[in-house]
């Protein structure tokens, strides 16, 4: 118990002392994960919308595949990407392995199915009359789509939070394609894994606190937006 308290105090001291190494790790995590979610969000949302609103052959197979991809372990995605990006792989000439762009690509692959499935559910839950009303009142299809996004904004925001949550805390893919290089590709989860294996718990706990704080902040944000939306 004493050890836990001592470690937590040391972690807090590390956080508030402005430790450069620690804050670089936090910066890498946010830069990579925010880039990934920004890249994945719009295509995933459009695919979710298409799956919810447009009838075409193989639609349910695609939904089933996306659902299955949500459950793929991050290390499997990391391994696949490693094989593709390694020197002998098909994209080896791009020299992306052990770089931040490789981590971004990995995280895009991880959050894309989450965003597709959750936005598909969000659009499915919107009344079909919303689309028809928007269209009959003269909205072009892309404006009608924006109307639907507005109608489903709480569910879509929850999808973004869930997608971000999946990638900011994943270890396997970042470790395999990022290489855990200090000051460049070491992010919060890979740093926690490394520091813990070395028996240096203070930095791991400090980074864990950042993740916990982030989770709380995102969920408070979501709850407050929902709360304001429901005030009538």
């Amino acid at each position: 118990m004493d050890s836990l308290i001592t470690t937590s105090i040391a972690a807090l001291e590390l956080l508030f002392s402005g430790d450069a190494e620690l804050w670089t790790i936090i910066g890498v995590s946010f830069r990579v994960s925010l880039s990934a979610i920004a890249i994945a969000a719009i295509p995933a949302l459009l695919l979710g919308f298409t799956l919810a609103m447009v009838q075409f052959p193989g639609r349910w197979a695609l939904v089933a595949i996306c659902n299955a991809l949500m459950a793929v372990p991050t290390v499997v995605v990391g391994l696949t990407l490693y094989l593709v990006l390694s020197r002998s792989g098909p994209l080896g000439e791009w020299h992306l392995l052990f770089t931040q762009p490789a981590m971004v690509v990995g995280q895009v692959l991880l959050c894309f199915p989450v965003l597709v499935c959750m936005s598909h559910s969000a659009f499915q839950s919107v009344d079909k009359r919303a689309w028809e009303t928007a269209r009959t009142l003269g909205a072009p299809w892309h404006k009608a789509l924006l109307t639907l996004v507005n109608e489903a904004r709480f569910a879509l925001l929850a999808a973004l939070v869930a997608g971000f949550g999946r990638i900011i805390s994943e270890v396997g893919c970042s470790m395999m394609v990022g290489g855990n290089i200090l000051g460049y590709s070491r992010n919060i989860p890979t740093a926690i894994a490394l520091e813990t294996s070395k028996g240096e718990f203070a930095q791991g706990v400090a980074l864990g606190m950042v993740l916990l704080l982030l989770a709380l902040l995102l969920n408070f944000l979501l709850a407050s937006v929902r709360g304001r939306g429901q005030q009538v």
Binding site: D127, A130, T147, V232
Partner: protein, 226 residues
């Protein structure tokens, strides 16, 4: 040139089941039409096809003069379909009435003026800033009519507009619709029961057994279907 709607050889099927087959249907500006039929005969589907929201399996619907511009990917802006239970967008009553005006190229001041007129016309001025989802059924129907009225439609398709409304609301909605007909709009009202609104209509068509029959016309005697 006044609006004319022409439908030819309309067929709608769901799987193997044929819902209706309509060889010919015409509507001119200023006409009001009551489309009657039991639940499930395809009134809503037919109206959505006429509004361009649904596609027939065979046949065509033409609106003359043609205004639809394919590159805008928009439906004809002079045709508006209203659901039995109007959909209410997130926002205030005024926001809802302004919705379609934003896509017509009006400036903000014109939009505000038209919204104010729409609120007065629908007697919803006092509720302008209220959240639209809190309106009663009758108020929602009036708001939906105002949302259409501000866009000056030439063809208005009303799907069971008075279902679930009390007598006063039906009378209010009937007054609003008759005002639009007086302004030159063509109106199609579907209903499975006669109301003050359906009694206003000059023509009465019956969708029955997959066929559309004209059973009454104050202006002409025609029969559609077999």
């Amino acid at each position: 040139m006044a609006l004319r709607l022409e439908a030819r050889q309309l067929v709608k099927r769901f799987g193997a089941r044929e819902l209706f087959r309509i060889p010919e249907f015409n509507l001119r500006a200023g006409e009001s039409l009551y489309l009657q039929g039991e639940n499930g005969v395809g009134k809503t589907t037919l109206m959505k096809i006429l509004a361009g929201l649904d596609k027939p399996c065979d046949g065509s619907v033409r609106l003359l003069p043609a205004r639809r511009r394919w590159w805008l990917s928009a439906l004809d802006q002079k045709v508006i379909y209203l659901h039995q239970t109007p959909y209410v967008f997130a926002g205030s009553v005024a926001d809802n009435i302004a919705y379609g005006l934003r896509y017509r190229g009006f400036d903000q001041q014109t939009i505000r003026q038209r919204v104010a007129l729409g609120l007065r016309w629908s007697r919803l001025e006092a509720l302008a800033e209220h959240d639209a989802v809190t309106l009663s059924g009758g108020e929602k129907q009036r708001m939906a009519l105002a949302r259409a009225w501000v866009l000056e439609p030439q063809l208005l398709l009303l799907d069971e507009p008075t279902a679930n409304l009390d007598v006063d609301s039906v009378s209010l909605v009937a007054d609003m619709v008759s005002g639009m007909v007086a302004d030159g709009a063509a109106v199609i009202v579907s209903s499975h029961q006669k109301t003050a609104l359906t009694r206003l209509c000059q023509r009465r068509l019956h969708l029955i057994n997959g066929q559309l029959r004209e059973v009454f016309s104050s202006t002409r005697q025609e029969q559609y279907g077999h």
